[in-house]
Structures are given as C-alpha cells and as structure tokens.
Subunit: 293 residues, 2 copies
DNA sequence: GGAGCGACATAAGCGTCCGTGATGGCGAGT
DNA sequence: ACTCGCCATCACGGACGCTTATGTCGCTCC
C-alpha cells in the first residue's frame, strides 16, 4: 500500500480510466496498469471493474482510506515545511460562507490578504495542507462544545463568535408567532437543503438521533452561498431554513423564530495549525489577536 | 515520506537508538541510518539529535503525523482484509473499563468471547485495526451528542447506555447536602486525576473553556481502573471524582451529588467498523442486536 | 460479421534505488 | 590513551519500477 500506488488508484477512479490517469500523472498506461495490479495482488481482491472502470465495493472502501491517507500525508509535509519556510508576509485565509461576518472580516489585516471561500468541510483541509494560513469555519454545536471537525491534522480551534440559531418561516406560517421553537415541533416539516449557505441538515438529523424514517425531509436544494436568498426561499414557503439569528432577520415575508431546544448555537471558530511554531508575530498572529479581542 | 521510512523513524525514536531499531525491524544499522538521512534530506531539516538520539521539535511534529498515518494504514489494511477473511465465529470486544456494566456484559454471546480491557483512547484504535471486532467506549458528552472519538477510520457508533453524571464528595463536605451541583461551583476544588477509572479531567477543562490558569487542579493521580477505589479516595477527602451516577453510589463515607450544569451525560457507545459488510448474521450482529434491545 | 480501433494486460529490457557489508569518525567510559 | 559502542559513509549487488513493445479483448462502424 505504497502512497504512490494509492495516488494512482484514486486518480484512476476519479478519471474512470487507466490511460487518462496515466496522462494525468505523467506515467505510461502500462505503469498505471501495474500499479493497480500490485494493489490488487497485495490486498488479495479486485478493486476495480474494467470496462467500465469503476470501483468494486472493496474499492469504494479503499477510496475512503486512501483519500484520508493522502490528505494526511500532504498535511504532514505542509506542516513540516513551515519549519523551514520563510516567515509569511501575506495571509491566506480559508473561510466558510457563514463564517464571514462584519466582525471577522474587520479583524483581517488591511493589506496582503487573500480570502478563499470554501465549503465548510474543505476549510480544515485547506489549513492542514498549507493552502491557507488560517481558517474560519462555522457550524452548530452544543453551547461550549467545540465544533465537530474532521481531524486531518492537529489543528487548534478557538471560538471567535457565537450566536443563537433561528428557524426561518414564512410570515403566515402557523408557528411563526411562537416565541421559540423546539426541533421536535418541526421534524415533519419540509426543509431547505442548503449545505453551503445554511446549517447542514445531516447534523440536525444526528442531533435529533431519530430513525431515518421520520424527520428532516429535504425539499428544495440550494447550492448557492447567499443567506438572503435562502431566507427568500423560506419566505416563499419552499421549506424551512436554519440560520444564525442575525442572518435570518430582515427579509420581508420571512419570520425568524429562535430555536430553544435542543440547546444549540451557531459558532464560528478560528483554525490554525496546532503546536504552532511560536509565531508571536506575523500576519496570522495579528489576525488571531484581533479576533480574540 | 515513504511509510517504510516513517515506520523506521518512529521505531528509532521509540527505542532512542539506530542500532536497536535496526534489530527490531530486521534491517542493518546502515539501512536505518540511510532511512533517517533520506527523510531528513527530503524534508530539508534535521529530525533527530544524535548522541543522545532524540527528536528535534520538527521531529516531534513528524512523530504525531507518522503515528496517525501508520495507524490509518493499518486500519485500511485491516478493513480491506475483512472482505476476504472468513466470517468470524468468535468475538473480540475491546472495552474501556467504565463501559462494562451488567447490561453491556449481559449482551455478550455466551461463548467464544474475548474481552480486551483497554484505556478509552485505545478502543477505537483496536476496532479500526481489527484487533477487536467491536468496541465499547464510554465518555462524557452533551445529551444527544455523539462522543468525541479520534477518527482513525470510519467507524459507526451507536449509543447503548446513557446515565447522569455525579460528583463524588466526602459526606462531610460543605456541598454534600446540595440536590445538584454546577461545575462552576467546583472549579477551584481539587480533583482526583483518574484517566482510566473516572471521567477524564481534560474533557471537563475543554467544556468549561476557561483559561488554563483556573480550574480543575489535579490532586492525587490514580491510574487504576476500579471505580470503587476512586470513590473511596474521594470519601477520604483526597479530591473530588466525577463518575456515572450508578458507579458513584453505595460507598460508605462518600456522597454522590448529580451534576446539573453544564448538561452532560455519561454515555457508552458501541463501535463497529462502518459501512459494514452486510453482516446481518455473525457474532458481531448478535452482540449489537442484543445491546440495542 | 469482419475489420479497425480504443483500452487494458502482459512481456522484456534497463536504469535506479534500496539494503548489505565493510570501513571510517566520534564520543564516552575505564 | 585505549577501547568499545554507535552512527555515518562508501561501494556493490540485486531487486524493483518504469518504459517500450506487443498481446488480447470488446465495441463500433460499415
């Protein structure tokens, strides 16, 4: 299970072709074929169907492991390179859409900043692999419980903002008048599925813990990142949305009712490589310092 | 960053010797020396001091990454081997001490069971690497929030028991009469540090979120796994202990007061490899089925 | 239905890299 | 100062991996 072999394996699966993968990796087709053969003989089972080229069930499993492994390998290399690299003068920040608020943006240094807008799950990856010097991720969690992030590498997370959650309903919705809502009241409702702009529904499903049969039916799916659009969709009755309170307010036709049970908050966290090389100075420290104040 | 090189690297660090590592790995000393040299030249910085052999700061970082990487590699191999291996007839269960209760033990099949008592953090590792077919881990978390486990491999976790938490105090303690306790009332108290038997203090520290200055000073450290002993120590005034309510009761001289804030529970979860090869039958399924009932 | 073509498998050749054994340098203990 | 233990370096032999070339299979086109 040489990383080289794994790298070609994932490339072959991604491109669904040995020859394409060979071109992509700068190998000959023969080499790719031998790589796959080596993996299959090492593990003792077929990983791919040929014609069409697609992973077998075992291959699917390997794909998960290989992805994590290669990611971690990149992260390790990036982490070690920080020891030798020249101190950064510019700052690359990876951020999920909802993590960018007036407050967090204000903390960015005036110059030399590149902002990478990424989906939530890519932010830790970007920081780990060194594509970004710091990350801002948002998500929901129990109060004073850190966000649940994939641990691709040792990262240190510190909360920089915390806000109540609100359910966005059309004004005329029967529940719109309530002072607060319980999630249990809403299990049978139709929800907007907006992984990029809103709060991910699968997280709610996990919190609720109920069987897959009931609860949190996705309705319209929205893959944009604009919260205002999401609120507009909710106002139009296309489904409910869950947003941080401040983002949920101020849209005509939409009412935001805060969520009271389960006790969850929308939190934004700053992500930096852990065990930080004592960078008491530099753009990252400057940014972190301003955020904590 | 070949895994072979990483494996030699961690071995060298563990044994603090090139020659010992060579013997351990079945290489010559020369090969080990070259492995380390290759790593160092690849990464462009020294990883070890020689005489004595010890990791540099950069080497320490690499060690973390290498450990995770090699673990994940073993997990991947073990996971893939499940596809080819013969269906299990016996059952190996890894369990943290507090996860073993009358209820969980009763769910074990009558015969063919090997029980591995492991510290909490080793349980997921054992399941991932195939040393165990299933795991039982306990820990504390917010209600209806999964336990926070290191993700060495895709594992599926399902709650099998949940219990309130209790603080164990000497009978004569000023707070012993209270109906319930808040953690905030106890930040300045002295705690028993019992990572194996009790609830880990560092988790509390994280939940409390306070600066390292205040809070949760460890007193006596107890590395045994017996909760009764822990309660006896608490009764003797050597420090407070946090235990699941049932384990905290019934020790003369000790009073158990349940914890009311923050809202945390002691939960035990069953761990099995995720994406399970549809084992509707077999010892693992039998065990899981009995636990869920 | 046969020829052609695209795509993966297999075979042979060759360079490179890896591990061995021998030797050298260096520090610590006697 | 000598010696022993330990790591570094060197030179060599073999194995492994990649390339070129060729084989085989399946699909498509006429």
């Amino acid at each position: 299970m040489d990383p080289h072999l794994l790298r070609t394996y994932v490339t072959v699966v991604r491109l669904a072709s040995f020859s394409e993968a060979a071109r992509d990796l700068g190998y000959t087709q023969s080499a790719v074929s031998q790589h796959i053969a080596a993996l299959e003989s090492d593990l003792g089972l077929p990983l791919l169907t040929r014609r069409p080229v697609a992973p077998t069930p075992a291959g699917e499993r390997l794909l998960e492991h290989a992805g994590a492994l290669l990611l971690r390998l990149d992260a390790a290399r990036a982490d070690l390179e920080r020891f030798t690299a020249a101190p950064r003068t510019t700052l690359d920040v990876a951020a999920s859409p909802l993590a960018l608020t007036a407050r967090t943006v204000a903390a960015l240094p005036a110059t030399g900043v590149t902002l990478h807008a990424l989906p939530r799950e890519r932010v830790p990856v970007a920081v780990a692999t060194g594509e970004a010097d710091a990350g801002l991720v948002d998500g929901i969690a129990a109060p004073s419980d850190p966000l649940r992030l994939p641990d691709v590498a040792p990262l240190s997370a510190t909360a920089v903002a915390e806000e109540p959650l609100a359910v966005v309903l059309p004004d005329h919705h029967p529940l719109a008048g309530r002072p607060g809502l319980r999630l249990d009241d809403l299990v049978d409702a139709r929800w907007l599925d907006a992984p990029a702009a809103g709060v991910p529904l699968d997280r709610l499903r996990a919190v609720h813990g109920g069987p897959a049969g009931r609860g949190f039916r996705p309705g319209l799916r929205y893959d944009g990142t604009d919260t205002r659009t999401l609120a507009v969709l909710a106002a139009a009755g296309r489904g409910l949305a869950l947003l941080p309170l401040s983002a949920a307010q101020g849209v005509p036709g939409a009412t935001a009712v805060s969520l009271v049970a389960p006790r969850l908050v929308h939190r934004t966290e700053l992500l930096v490589p852990a065990g930080a090389h004592p960078e008491a100075t530099g753009p990252v420290a400057e940014f972190a310092g301003r955020l904590k104040r």
